[in-house]
Amino acid sequence: MHTSISHHGRRASSQAPVTRRFVLRTAVLVTAALALPALPAGAVPEPLSAAQKTTLLRIARDIYPHEGFLDDAPYQAVIDAILIESESNPAVADLLAKGIEDLERRAHEIHQTDYAAIASAEKREGLLRSIELTDFFQKLKGGLLMGLYNNKALYAAFGYDGSSWETGGFIHKGFDTIDWF
């Protein structure tokens, strides 16, 4: 079981911080879109263990794999935002707890081990396919979609320029240059 990604090749630096407020806001919007059912009165969801939080990172990296391209930081930022949200929203806390529990049950049933211990990326993706329509999975996916691909700190890694009007657009910046045919 590994908790960090081996550092080889070019990786988007985690030095430029992800705007926490932006990621938190996204987490809340995804929850609203999911319209989760309220918990029964008095129900207190189990807090996640350290191992479960690590598993969340593994799941996140499997939803949008970028080995050797992105390090853990942007994924962790999304998970942290969801965990913060779960501290004040019991429905989200319950969603996470039950979602991980369910995934681990499937992992043990099919692969006889914890999810994060499954060595094959394809097998992990296959397990996630079996839960992809659940609110738990969509909660993570929705947060990651914004946290990875709508994140100014990572634009350069993807070769995306972002906003251009402030610097006069691309008309004088080789917008019409093509060199491979």
Partner: protein, 526 residues
């Protein structure tokens, strides 16, 4: 602070919506001395509100009121609450549109005469011809600043991304390859600057180089002193008297309070989901199926164009974001040739997506994740792609309906938007995927992605024009068959979708309709 009109002033024309149709009618009428009030459901917007940020602008200007997708199209599953991607705001969808300004072709006005009865489709001819509309197309191009022979403005320069498409198109034998006609200034014109290839056209043009009623028709209308614009005013109902003549509208103002504005005539231009919904919600004893709906066609014949996307990874860098969103057009498949297995044709349009939208739409919906998707996104700067826009046959089953239980924030029934492909759409889409595969293979592409339709930015047909009242909702002037002083001024008038983007045709029809309305008012018929 411009002219304001009293709620009790029954001499004014009320225009519902401020987009291509509503904004143009407002200005054309104002220039002719006709007094009008534009009621825009959305916020006031200015160039200061525009950001080069896909998701930020999506949240800021999209119509996000309660709506439901239904029918056989994938969006019923992948975009269940976003059937259409259009604007709620001053200027309407002219803030979001990419600027493509192609005229309908002769055959697109005559789909019934040309093709006869098509099983499963509800095809009719337009009650007007291309030659009747041509002078108004000229005026529309002058108004909007369309590149090409009418204005004399050169087409925009070719971006790297368009050069990729053009080269591939050339390699498979295509020749109708142009970076226009676009209603985007290629030179300074009409007090608006030339395009700087910013690349966020569909998030609002920060310079105003792209035509939008927001900074052209609407301020010009207000300047005449004959037009008042009220934003954050949602029209809820159109009222009529015992004879069926429209007397005014009820709307929710910016504080949410209900107001009644009297009117001499009403022009409905809320785009093709809200316009029929307004007529349906205005049902009365005299019009039990909805205002002006004796034909039962209000809300029906909904068309979005047959659309698709194709994105491919190229052997070299492209940086598709560095240039206009629709950087060029290929029209070799836009004609009518049934040997291809479908009637009418399609337009191939270069379309750049930013990283954000590509990640959401490459594989849309809940299943768009995993190694394949993330691997493709790592190659963003090598990607190039197109949007396919083709003739969409009208079907009665494709329609806007009032939800039986869901209500919007005003307590009115929310719309359900039904869309299902006709076999003609499917055959045409598959043909376009095949042609694009040839194009991208000719360039040495390593991976090609076929995308389904986006939430519809082109919405047409739901209050269509017809010769016979039983076949449609309005006549050759966009005037309701049932009610003389009720008009439809947006794309819901369209009797066919044609292959190209609708905005230029909406503007041409609006210029012509305003001329008719002003004339009829002068003659005392309205």
């Amino acid at each position: 602070m411009g002219t304001t009109f009293d709620l009790s002033d029954g001499g004014i024309v009320v225009i519902v919506g401020s987009g291509a149709g509503g904004g143009t009618v407002a200005n054309e009428l104002s220039q002719k001395g006709v007094k009008c009030v534009v009621l825009e459901a959305g916020n006031t917007l200015s160039l200061d509100d525009i950001e080069n940020d896909e998701w930020a602008m999506f949240s800021k200007i999209s119509w996000l009121d309660k709506r439901f997708s239904a029918g056989g199209w994938h969006g019923a599953i992948n975009h269940p609450t976003l059937p259409a991607w259009i604007v709620k705001g001053l200027g309407g969808s002219t803030v979001h549109w990419a600027g493509v300004s192609i005229r309908l072709q002769e055959h697109e006005f005559k789909m019934r005469s040309l093709n006869g009865d098509i099983t499963g489709a509800n095809v009719i001819d337009w009650p007007i011809t291309l030659s009747e509309l041509e002078p108004y197309y000229d005026r529309a191009e002058l108004k909007m600043g369309t590149t090409g022979p009418v204005t004399g403005m050169p087409h925009l320069p070719w971006s790297a991304d368009f050069k990729v498409l053009a080269e591939g198109a050339r390699r498979i034998g295509y020749s109708k390859i142009t970076a226009g006609p676009m209603s985007i200034n290629s030179v300074d014109r009409d007090a608006r600057p030339a395009c700087q290839q910013i690349g966020f056209c569909m998030q609002g043009c920060k310079l105003g180089a792209k035509w939008s009623t927001l900074y052209t028709e609407l301020p010009k209308a207000v300047e005449t002193g004959n037009c008042e614009i009220r934003t954050n005013c949602m029209v809820l109902q159109i009222e009529h008297d015992a004879s069926g003549k429209v007397t005014g509208v009820v709307y929710a103002d910016s504080a949410g309070a209900k107001q009644r504005q009297k009117a001499r005539a009403v022009c409905v231009a809320g785009n093709s989901i809200e316009s029929p919904r307004l007529l349906l919600n205005s049902a009365s004893n005299l019009f039990p199926d909805g205002l002006a709906n004796s034909s039962g066609q209000v809300g029906r014949n909904y068309m979005t164009h047959m659309t698709a996307g194709v994105y491919a990874v190229m052997p070299g860098e492209v940086h598709m974001n560095r240039g206009t969103a629709v950087a060029g057009i290929v029209r070799d498949e836009a004609h009518n040739d049934t040997r291809r297995g479908f009637v009418a044709g399609y337009t191939i349009e270069k379309l750049a997506l930013g990283l954000g939208f590509l990640s959401a739409f490459l594989v849309p919906g809940p299943t768009g994740w995993g190694r394949k998707v993330s691997g493709a996104l790592e190659k963003y700067k090598y990607m190039s792609g197109v949007w396919i826009c083709g003739e969409d046959l009208p079907q009665e089953q494709n329609r806007i309906e009032l939800h039986p239980t869901e209500r919007d924030q005003y307590g009115l029934p929310a719309p359900i938007v039904y869309k299902t492909d006709h076999p003609n759409d499917t055959n045409m889409r598959n043909h376009s995927y095949g042609q694009m595969e040839k194009i991208y293979n000719s360039l040495g592409s390593t991976e090609i992605y076929n995308l389904p339709a986006y939430p519809a930015s082109h919405n047409m047909g739901t209050n269509r024009m017809s010769e016979k009242p039983r076949d449609g909702v309005v006549n050759r002037w966009g005037q309701a068959h049932d009610i003389k002083n009720l008009f439809v001024s947006d794309g819901s008038q369209f009797a066919s979708s044609g292959s190209p983007n609708p905005t230029l045709t909406i503007v041409a029809l609006a210029i012509r309709q305003a001329e008719y309305i002003a004339g009829e008012m002068k003659r005392g018929h309205i």
